[in-house]
Homo-oligomer: 666 residues x 2
């Protein structure tokens, strides 16, 4: 191994806690750390030297081809796990949503949706027979599928989908059609050239009646030749901001027939004669949506741990300007503005991880209750997953860009791996529910809750709405974490309450409910975000407090600071809200700014250790700026030399265009 | 021309002002509109059908080659202008920083820096003789150059550059060297494979003494063969987040000799015997920096006008969900949250344009004064250009992403042209002075000004610092534009003042000045931004008020609303600052929210007309979502079909990898 950059080494030498202890805490146990490292070692050894020219230099088509090559290696591991009997949802999550996956197919995998949506959809919506029919082949990748819901004309508004599935009792088949241009399926990952099956979401017609949207399993390509089946138009939707190694696809259907039992019938059914049997409960599908959204929050944690590792290590290596005349150049990590830019990403990574774990546990608990027929907590869970998905993706996107910009010019290089990371993260702000739309869904739940706050028994995540209203909830402001969390609870309550008032007033002035809702929607979105901030902050605080009991005093101090950083950062960001709703004074704010500055300075000596604890090996981090040894400039140059433009001293365009132009002949 | 989408047509029919009148106002006169349109027509006709596969599908190398092909066409126009005698700075700006340029080389031109920095540097730093020697060849592109300042190890800290130029009196030459890896030049646009000359910034050594950094003209490639000259290592730095058709390059120098008169000697000189003659004033270079930064603000205006055109037109065409059950699906432009996302971009485009024009005029005035030896206004102008560059690029980057996200999934398609636009805009947050560093420079000027506020005569842009301190500056808060601007002046003053206090207190507690500055730097950045917001807001308000006299009553109303939108939007964004420093009450804020909602609703009917007035033709806008006729879905499909992945029904990777994998043979 090459020599470690001296500045980085010094950072590691002076850190005040044991890095391995934090890594264990993050992984959730020593054995889990070991298992993860083992998986990483295996995979990375298999793929060593697989790559030729780095992907960023390839054409769109070549990127796809390279991703297929890499994906089959990655998913070979999933198959192997299955053969070893490791088929629990957690095992599965460990591979699919791990950093490992993001290393193997850096700009996304064409087969990702197979694991994250195709299989879960069959598990959730298929009958036991259907599961028995499809799952074994899906698990071992004999077939590869995607989830085709969105159309050119409709994404958010699922009820507006135009694809039709019309039951024909004479042949016991459904006839699938995309009758208009806007009804073409558009976006499903892997649909373009990879998958041979998909779940199609379509309007079900039987006996001349429309029964709304339902899911169907459709074969799109021949298993042997991979040629599109008759009546099927399928292809790549084209280049995107990111995820360019995923062939998001379009799909047009012209009288394509599938057998009756290809409709997923766990909840609703069409009988042989065409009789439609309704689902018992329309909310049952919430479960699947929640699952995917939790997975997304974990994804965000992964990406953000990468981005912060890169930015922090680079900031320790990069020296620029003299803070003091005559002194050596300053490590940019010593500038308070730089700490302000990057430390929040470390804290956010932990805050989101802790919250995602909690959400995951709640999800599993509720799923068990569902088995027993208890649907009570579904609406709360759904509202929670909506806002957490929205806020975690938005925050992560902001943090990643902040990290990238904090790396100055070199952050703009693809070889930093920050641009690609942003492309992946910002996509999550849109897919699986556009963020504004999701926040409005949470707002709807909050408004309903608020309107019954005096009479209903409140579920855990909204209990604070009642408590904050009691007199003296905050007697006197104190600059403490507890008080800040209380302050945010008051803010969330205040925003919900004043949105409702605002809406009521518009209604009293004669406005229709829907218009009043719309006119209040900017405020409602802000209320839902405030609610979500309460959840993240308080969960982070509580869970870290629980962990305190089991960790060393050294680590305890650092964790405490991370919680402080998160809370004080957001208190200052949202100081306008606190001033409006909580009893905070101008002098408190002045002191809070100093507090914030002090936290940054206190975290400074441990910054590199904190990101080292994320334990992301170079093969996964894939960054010239973030590698463990800090050989930043050497790596930048090594990567540059891989640019195919440097394969020849003079590019052909000189002779063809440039020279004639310069000589005035063009 | 194809049929116009009905929704768009309806928007145009119902607008309340004359679109052409606003276009004229934006261009600065009817004749300028005509001239611009003529230039666009000529260029677009020359390039019709030039493009084969859309650029986003090409490899890194092909992107570069395509950009060279397109650039020579674009810059043929510059040459033609020169031949026609149109060589004023304004003529020049019209082409180089126009939307036109961005249409021709969509992801940046390898020759951009030739026009924006190479030639201006010679004009600014070259003697008359040197100008006579180099400018004619540069103007007509017989030689193409770039500006090579940044090195692998140093960007912000120019004094830290490591490249050396050592004078050898025996041959009357300079010997250039990059003695370390970190001293390699890194980043200059076009340096990789395009240019044959460049300005190199290096530490000047003569008679064994270092005299700091100076600029030299260096030939890097042979004019006939384009081969790198002896001692020169040059190449492409590799793939980037954006600007991938520009070959940003690296440059290593090994004892490369250039004649003495290749040092640009307008300000400082090295005589034949090696005697160094110092520049009269170190601030003289500010002029060039200000020029480039003003050009950047104009760039931002262009990009933002594009992004808002795309987002607004698409929002008029896109229908999603029913606001009211039974009604037709809602144009998403009718959702208040959507208006909140996109209208601010329209207002910001105008605010920045008006401010950039003002800055441009000031720049020209000060340049004239410079001719007369008057340097008084340079520091102010420099501070102004720093913060305007920083705030305009940051705001534009945020607005462009906001516009993109507002287009939902389709905004993520390259064919929307929003991703590329973001890549260009966010680069400007870093180049020509990293934004944080620039804001700290403005802060330094503000702190100095503040420390002499009672005694010095204040220059125009900071006069408010004195006035705001007078008692009763705001007697009672009113929700009016005038009061909001005053409120922001108080905020800026308050932030500067409390930063200074904060710093003083740390110093009194025994901290060194530099450390106290650093500990206050987060607050200082925020103060500089607040100052800049005052400048933009008040300039926008004043200049639009001046324009009021000359425009029709219909247009007047709309312009008034745009100013309101800008001010109220920022008042609500910065409500925490207003609450801390200005006498605003909670009820004022409540009313202000309603005011904001009302402004959005009032602007709604004119939204499409407002972006139509930017008058960006389809060939320049280059967007499936934003085209004039609103054929969004047709265009998305047409573009998708151009993806080379769709050239064959089954991709080769199926046979190579996917099939063996699915059949368990891999
Ligand atoms: C990278 C990527 C991968 C994807 N993968 C898949 C996949 O595998 N399978 C699949 O089926 N789909 C997929 N999608 C599609 C994705 O699910 C949709 O893009 C997403 O649901 C957003 O819907 P939309 O595009 O219709 O946005 P729109 O709804 O058109 O959003 C546009 C704007 O309208 C606003 N808006 C819309 N409705 C309302 C409302 N009621 N109130 C207020 N504002 C509103 C939004 O806030 C937004 O600002 C993918 C998308 C992307 C970008
Ligand atoms: C697309 C692009 C094109 C370019 N084109 C050219 C070109 O044609 N010619 C050329 O010569 N150069 C060019 N550059 C280089 C560009 O000018 C530099 O990248 C820019 O000046 C920023 O410097 P840096 O990269 O050293 O950032 P750094 O200074 O390393 O910034 C990294 C971080 O350190 C912080 N920091 C640095 N100094 C301080 C300080 N004193 N106080 C507080 N914080 C500090 C910054 O705020 C930032 O967060 C280009 C860059 C890009 C991205």
């Amino acid at each position: 191994m090459a020599k470690i950059n001296e500045d980085l080494q010094r950072e590691r030498d002076k850190c005040t806690f044991k890095i391995a202890e934090l890594t264990t805490l993050i992984d959730g146990g020593r054995d889990r750390t070991d298992a993860r490292r083992e998986r990483e070692k295996v995979l990375l050894s298999r793929t060593k030297d697989l790559h030729g020219v780095p992907e960023e230099y390839l054409s769109h088509k070549e990127k796809y081809e390279s991703a297929i090559k890499n994906s089959v290696i990655l998913f070979g591991i999933v198959r192997q796990m299955q053969e070893e009997g490791k088929t629990s949802v957690t095992d599965y999550r460990d591979v699919i949503t791990s950093l490992l996956a993001s290393a193997q197919t850096r700009d996304g995998s064409p087969m990702g949706v197979h694991y994250i949506m195709f299989m879960p959809a069959i598990l959730n919506q298929g009958t036991e027979e259907q599961q028995a029919q499809w799952m074994p082949r899906a698990w071992n990748s004999s077939i590869i599928g995607t989830y085709a819901q969105t159309e050119l004309g409709h994404g958010t508004f699922i009820r507006g989908l135009e694809t039709t599935a019309t039951y024909d009792p004479s042949t016991k088949e459904f006839v699938l059609n995309t009758p208009t241009l806007t009804s073409y399926k558009w976006w499903p990952g892997g649909l373009g050239h990879t998958v041979n099956y998909c779940i199609v979401v379509a309007q079900l017609y039987s006996k001349g009646q429309c029964h709304g949207i339902h899911s169907f399993i459709l074969q799109v390509r021949d298993e042997e030749t991979h040629a599109p089946l008759p009546g099927i138009k399928v292809g790549d939707i084209g280049a995107k901001l990111g995820l360019n190694s995923v062939d998001n696809g379009f799909l047009g259907l012209d009288n394509v027939r599938i057998p009756r039992n290809h409709m997923l019938m766990k909840h609703a059914q069409v009988l042989e004669d065409g009789t439609y049997v309704k689902s018992k409960n329309s909310k049952l599908n919430y479960g699947a949506m929640v699952f995917v959204r939790v997975v997304i929050v974990f994804d965000m944690v992964n990406y953000l741990s990468k981005a912060s590792t890169i930015a922090v290590r680079y900031s320790a290596v990069r020296r620029q300007c003299h803070m003091k005349e005559g002194a050596p150049e300053t490590q940019i990590l010593d500038y308070l503005t730089q700490q302000h830019k990057v430390f929040i990403s470390i804290a956010t990574t932990h805050a989101l991880r802790v919250t995602a774990n909690k959400l995951w546990d709640t999800f599993n608990a509720v799923t068990e209750e569902l088995g027993g027929g208890n649907l009570n907590r579904l609406p709360e869970l759904h509202a929670l997953a909506c806002c957490l998905k929205a806020v975690s993706t938005a925050d992560t996107a902001n943090c990643v860009e902040r990290c990238r910009l904090a790396c100055g010019g070199h952050g703009y290089m693809q070889s930093s791996n920050l641009p690609l990371t942003y492309g992946l993260v910002t996509a999550a702000c849109t897919y699986e529910g556009e963020n504004t739309v999701l926040l409005l869904q949470t707002a709807r739940f909050l408004v309903k809750t608020w309107q019954n706050v005096d009479t209903a028994k409140l579920t855990p995540t909204v209990e604070y709405l009642k408590i904050t209203r009691s007199k003296g909830f905050i007697d006197k402001w104190q600059n403490s974490i507890e008080c800040i969390i209380k302050g945010f609870q008051i803010v969330a309550m205040g925003k919900i309450s004043s949105s409702v008032d605002h809406m009521q007033q518009r209604i009293s002035n004669g406005m229709a409910l829907e218009d009043a809702w719309n006119m209040t929607s900017v405020q409602l979105v802000s209320a839902a975000e405030a609610h979500c901030r309460v959840i993240i902050m308080s969960t982070f605080y509580e869970e870290i407090n629980k962990a305190m009991a089991t960790v060393s005093p050294e680590l305890r101090k650092v964790l405490q600071k991370l919680v402080e950083l998160y809370c004080v950062y957001w208190a200052l960001e949202k100081v306008g809200d606190l001033l409006q709703y909580a009893p905070i004074a101008q002098s408190d704010i002045r002191d809070m700014k100093s507090w914030y500055e002090d936290i940054l300075v206190e975290l400074r000596p441990n910054a590199v250790a904190l990101v080292d604890a994320f334990d992301i090996r170079d093969g996964i981090l894939h960054s010239t700026l973030g590698a463990y040894d800090g050989r930043v400039y050497e790596r930048l140059m090594e990567e540059a030399l891989k640019s195919p433009l440097n394969g020849e001293p003079v590019n052909q365009s000189f002779h063809k265009y440039l020279k004639p132009f310069m000589q005035g002949k063009l």
